[in-house]
Amino acid sequence: MSDDATIFGRSSRNFAAEFVAFLGALLITTGSGIAVVLRGRADYLLTLRQLRIVTIESMPVMSLVAVMGGFVMVFESAGAIESTGADGMLGWAFGLATLSEVAPILVALMFAARSGARTTAEIGTKSVTGQLDAMRLLGVDPTPRLSAPVFIAMVPMLPLMIALCDVCAIAAGTAGASLVVGVNPDLFVISMIEGRLLDELLMGLVKGFFFGGVIAAVSCTLGLRVTGGASGVGHAVNDCVVFSAIGVFIFDLLVDLVWLMVAS
């Protein structure tokens, strides 16, 4: 464990150099991935497979996390609401926090952990077992078969998963509010509707596109750079979730700042 390759945990003198090299690789992977997608050369069947992985196969975990997150949000905001006596605001406060921040961040983190890590593991395994070299040797470009399907699948599907989890979280929040906190569900839902949260909903979905792009770029780049056998694949997966998480938080703040600038 002492020689682990986790860049963000390493006290190496070459940290800056490695980080710059990583950013360069990130740009190259993203650029070539997008170029292939725009020219329509992405592999059709592999794209379908990737779409299945990121949506249908992730749905159980995503909705479980969203339901739990919805309950937590309503339990925790209930204390603040009760102390001010504003029962009618609970739905609004809950919906606002959930739609604009909590659901997108939770979904993106779970997405990074599930689909991003899986992509890195798959591409990394191909890399360490020499399959990537074999493809290049035969004159086959790996991009249309490996990273382009990931970009096509992740960028549009992450907002879709956020929308699904918004629904789950709101259902869980309404149930939690009426069963545990004791707020009338009608009042809860009405206050959410009257809060006019369309702006927050849209902002959450727009964030999804950025998060999807970050996770796709990070997971493909790290997968293509894997060296060092089985433990190398494990460490690359480790790096993938770490860098994706940092990227998600950075882009969340950026979208927040830019959104308000554009909206006002």
């Binding site: 464990m1 002492s2 682990d4 986790t6 963000f8 945990g9 006290s11 975990v61 479980l64 996390v65 739990m68 997150g69 309950f71 937590v72 949000m73 339990f75 925790e76 204390g79 603040a80 606002l96 926090a97 604009s100 921040e101 939770l106 983190l109 779970m110 990074a112 952990a113 599930r114 890590a117 899986r118 890195t120 593991a121 798959e122 990394g124 395994t125 360490v128 077992t129 545990v180 906190v181 056998g229 089985a230 433990s231 190398g232 694949v233 494990g234 690359a236 997966v237 480790n238 979730v241 770490v242 998480a245 940092i246 938080f249 950075i250 969340d252 703040l253 927040d256 700042l257 308000l260």
Partner: protein, 247 residues
């Protein structure tokens, strides 16, 4: 033959880890090294993510508060309270699951693939004793520390952001008047449970690795997903109990 195959479920691994902790506690030197590995080396990552989260929380909180009432003097109190009660333990737990959980699973998986896990059993030790128990002890100590550090980073970044963007004086922002002792109790319960759960869930995923490099990658993925879900479930259970008992 995989001698470790019957020790890879989460309940079984939890039981044998706890038994090991009681009967043959890992030596202190090893635990200290693991604390360095899990805590010190995650500190930068946890601080960076929580700092961004603190700024997000302040930004959203203040923008929404301004729509109702143009006075932001109470914003700091609410941000600090929610950070301590909810988001500090939750986000830190997720980040530890990502960084530490993935590391544990990658190492355990590599040991299984290279037959070192079987060698441990043959020599009279066990993966629970050698791999999981030291990290279990390290995370019990390290995760609460990381949670506190993360909350400090988040609140500080949020305070600086509030001072620059919303011109809230730091003296007004850093007001812990709303934070009660039970908020800290809830925070630490969540942090301890996260610390106890992540190494076991991640270790179980790592030890159930099958065949070669593909297996290690998949086991690491499973470890991250399972321990992240475990963190969210812990958050839910503790909040639920706190809410029902009126804290």
């Amino acid at each position: 033959m995989k001698a470790t195959a019957d020790r890879t479920g989460i309940p079984a691994l939890a039981l044998s880890t706890i038994r090991t902790m009681v009967t043959a506690p890992p030596n202190m030197g090893r635990v200290v090294r693991e604390i360095h590995e899990t805590t010190n080396r995650s500190l930068l990552f946890v601080s960076v993510t929580l700092a961004f989260f603190g700024m997000i929380l302040v930004y959203q909180g203040c923008m929404q508060a301004l729509r109702i009432y143009p006075d932001l003097s109470g914003a700091g109190e609410i941000v600090i309270k929610t950070m301590v009660r909810v988001f500090g333990p939750l986000v830190t737990g997720l980040m530890v699951a990502f960084r530490v959980g993935a590391g544990i699973a990658a190492e355990a998986g590599t040991m299984v693939v290279t037959d070192q896990a079987d060698a441990l059993v043959v020599t009279g030790s066990s993966p629970a004793r050698w791999l999981v128990a030291p990290r279990f002890a390290a995370c019990l100590i390290g995760v609460p520390v990381l949670t506190v550090a993360g909350i400090c980073a988040g609140v500080t970044a949020g305070g600086v952001f509030a001072a620059i963007r919303f011109e809230i004086l730091p003296r007004t922002f850093f007001d812990i008047g709303m934070v009660e002792w039970e908020d800290f109790v809830i925070c630490f319960i969540k942090a301890f449970l996260n610390g106890a759960t992540i190494p076991i869930v991640a270790g179980a995923a790592g030890l159930s690795t099958k065949n070669s490099s593909e297996g290690v990658g998949l086991a690491t993925t499973n470890a991250v997903v399972n321990s992240a879900v475990a963190v969210v479930i812990i958050e839910f259970l503790v909040s639920f109990i706190a809410s029902v008992t009126g804290h």
